[in-house]
């Protein structure tokens, strides 16, 4: 009987708590950014949902980053970060729906607007102290800061970040009589090198996953095309410049200059030493490095290839930090974590142990920072150079973001893999998307 009573009272308490927290989140969306007081004796627990924690090549580095925060600043100020691995970006959505506290999310770019509208993510200006925020953002690459802004407010702070890099297998290059230190520059060069590698070694020369989800946009932009109009009211990926870029890709895929398979399969193939060139993010660099050492080959890297003499326009992969603290104390706790992971120490760990770019670019030349590391791995210079020319990936309009992402990505895959007419396939998808967002 007493057990039953206890159960009922616990249930009541839980219901009240859920109700109250719901009220809190609804009320916290406007007004001044009030910062609660943190207490080291009674630490505030916050949750951090991260996809890097679920990827074998990134897990160790990300765990180190979180652990170091908990052991240093967290302990000193009274914040404990509890990390949740979220491989497919679904867990945070499910947990928000279930009413669990989701405070910080390592969020991808394309669906940020949807999360802002549907999931109660908050603008940095609304929850963090203004002067401290301005101070903290100094030193971060301004191009990167622009990426998480919607309607002039910052809903995400660029966090782990890369531009597309053409990774090269030095051994296969030399076997084919090519020099990896003078890498291919244009798409025509890539095709030529790829066919040579295939002919000489029997292994695939080049790979870019049709479902890569981000480099595709760089390909379209580099040929003078557009993906999403500036006013975000229509899509433009079915216009001639974009179609031409995708046709070039289809030609490589169909004519023996391209490995077949999806993203994971291509990454495995490259790491096994069975592919000459592979375009991906530097997030995989630590994994590729280990695989190459184990396999007895060497890695080289170059920037996104260009069309003819037009300089290429790289886009960014990776993530930003989106936040939804629901109390003044949590505002303060989340802010401590953000400051640490996007600070000097944070980026030192992110670059040297995971492989993403240091968005505090000065670290690259700082002898106390990443200078030694970057001198040893010159590939990062290429990555930092591309950062100057970077163009943000499309942030799809809110309500339909996930549907649009699927439609766009499916249309690209179909154009590249199948024998379909590229212009028609892209036009069909564009019409369907335009109908949704207009």
């Amino acid at each position: 009987m007493t057990k039953a009573k206890k159960g009922i009272s616990a249930l009541l308490a839980l219901t009240t708590a859920v109700g109250l927290s719901a009220c809190g989140s609804a009320a916290g969306s406007s007004g001044e950014a009030e910062q609660g007081k943190l207490d080291p004796a009674n630490p505030t627990k916050i949750t951090f949902y991260s996809y890097s924690l679920a990827a074998p090549t990134m897990k160790a580095g990300m765990e180190h980053l979180i652990q170091e925060f908990n052991d240093t600043i967290g302990k000193e100020k009274g914040v404990v970060v509890e990390a949740v691995a979220d491989p497919t970006y679904q867990q945070y959505k499910a947990d928000i729906s279930a009413g669990k506290p989701v405070d910080i999310v390592q969020h991808t770019f394309s669906t940020l607007d949807a999360s802002r509208l549907n999931l109660g993510f908050k603008a940095y200006e609304d929850v963090f102290p203004k002067d401290q925020l301005e101070e903290h953002l100094k030193g971060i690459e301004p191009n990167a800061l622009e990426l998480g802004k919607i309607d002039g407010k910052m809903y995400g702070l660029a966090f782990t970040f890369s531009t597309p890099i053409v990774f090269m297998n030095g051994k296969l290059f030399r076997d084919a009589g090519l020099d990896p230190t003078t890498p291919p520059k244009t798409w025509a060069d890539i095709k030529e090198a790829s066919l040579k590698i295939k002919a000489a070694t029997g292994k695939d020369g080049f790979g870019l996953a049709p479902n890569n989800g981000w480099t595709t946009e760089g390909l379209i932009l580099s040929n003078g095309g557009e993906v999403l109009a500036d006013d975000r009211k229509s899509v433009k990926f079915a216009e001639p410049a974009a179609v031409e870029a995708i046709e070039m890709w289809q030609d490589m895929y169909k004519n023996g200059a391209h490995a077949v398979g999806a993203e994971a399969e291509l990454a495995e193939q490259f790491m096994a030493g069975n592919m000459g060139m592979y375009i991906t993010s530097t997030a995989l660099y630590s994994g590729i490095r280990k695989a190459s050492e184990a396999g007895g080959w060497d890695v080289y890297g170059t920037g996104l290839p260009q069309f003819g003499d037009k300089p290429s326009i790289p886009v960014n992969s990776g993530s930003m930090l989106a936040v939804r603290p629901d109390s003044p104390t949590k505002n303060a706790a989340v802010w401590e974590f953000i400051k640490f992971v996007t600070g000097d120490r944070g980026y030192t760990i992110i670059t040297s142990e995971i492989g993403y770019l240091p968005l505090r670019t000065a670290l690259a030349d700082d002898p106390n920072g990443l200078k030694d590391f970057i001198d040893k791995h010159p590939l990062y210079r290429t990555n930092l150079e591309q950062l100057q020319r970077i163009h943000p990936v499309a942030i799809w309009p809110g309500e339909y973001a996930s549907e649009i992402t699927t439609l766009f990505s499916d249309a690209i895959s179909k154009s590249v893999i199948s024998d379909s007419n590229v212009a028609e396939t892209l036009q069909k998808a564009a019409d369907e998307i335009n109908k949704m967002i207009q």
């Binding site: 719901a22 609804a26 928000i96 549907n118 023996g256 999806a262 399969e265 096994a272 499916d410 895959s413």
Partner: protein, 323 residues
Amino acid sequence: MSQALETSYAPPLPGKPSIARNRSLNGAKLWRKLKPFLYLLPALLLLGIWMYRPLLNTFYLAFHKWGMVPGTSPEFVGFDNFTRLMENKSFLSSIGNTLFYTAGLLPFSILIPLLLATVTHQMEGRMKNVYRALFFVPMILAPVSVSAIWRWLFHPSNGLVNDVLLRLGAISQPIAYFSDPSFAKWLILFITGWKMVGFSTIMFSAALTGINREYYEAAAIDGAGSMKQFFRLTVPLMSPMILFMLTMSILFSSQWTFAYIDILTTGGPYGTSTNVYYEMYKYAFSNLNAGFSAAAALLFFIVFGVISLTLNQLSRRYSFYDN
């Protein structure tokens, strides 16, 4: 006396405590009527909480727009979800795939298991159980590990299947099976079927052991060969189980393919291997559009409801029970 006490309109006798007794006896009667329902209560409660409440909620949500975020409330949109659903090309193509999986699984859930069960049933000794265990093992393996193994086997560059086919000269270029629309859904079907065979075989084997041996002896004396025995005796006597497995296979094929779609192709390449359940899951938990997902679920509730009623009728008409 007891008759008078049991009728509630009997006039109370003055000076006797008949009203109180009347009440308590009424209570006893009520208790007697309530008792069966009390026994049913746990089952009804569980059914109510886990089946009927969500079902009613689905009806409600199908006419609303809602992202499932606590603190927000569903917004009424009328038939909007249904019209959008009918215009959605990926939903329409997923219906085609659902039919493909449903029809394609029938050989794996009925024909092959029926043959395997009959053949192993006639075996003697230990090997009978060894074979049945072999057929059943895929069924108890976790879908995630099964998917990983099949993914490695069919890997475009490191997979055994491509390697063997290349060595035999059957293909000149490796094939990315799960990224190729002409292979992806066939492989999903095959893997699901491979896993299903064991379950149906065990069910059919169980049904076979229930058949009286004497029928076969009598048939053999009358000169019936093994084929004739199979079609004239085994199949009719197994008809209730065959119809049951048919119903299971049709109604659950979409659920059984779900795990492999999610892990191996995520519905791709370009939506060619998805089915309605996977699309519904995406609408709700990836696009956070519970109303849209509920509308799709409601349509399929009706379709599957009609199918199961029809199968129920068929089962009544064609099942033969050897009582």
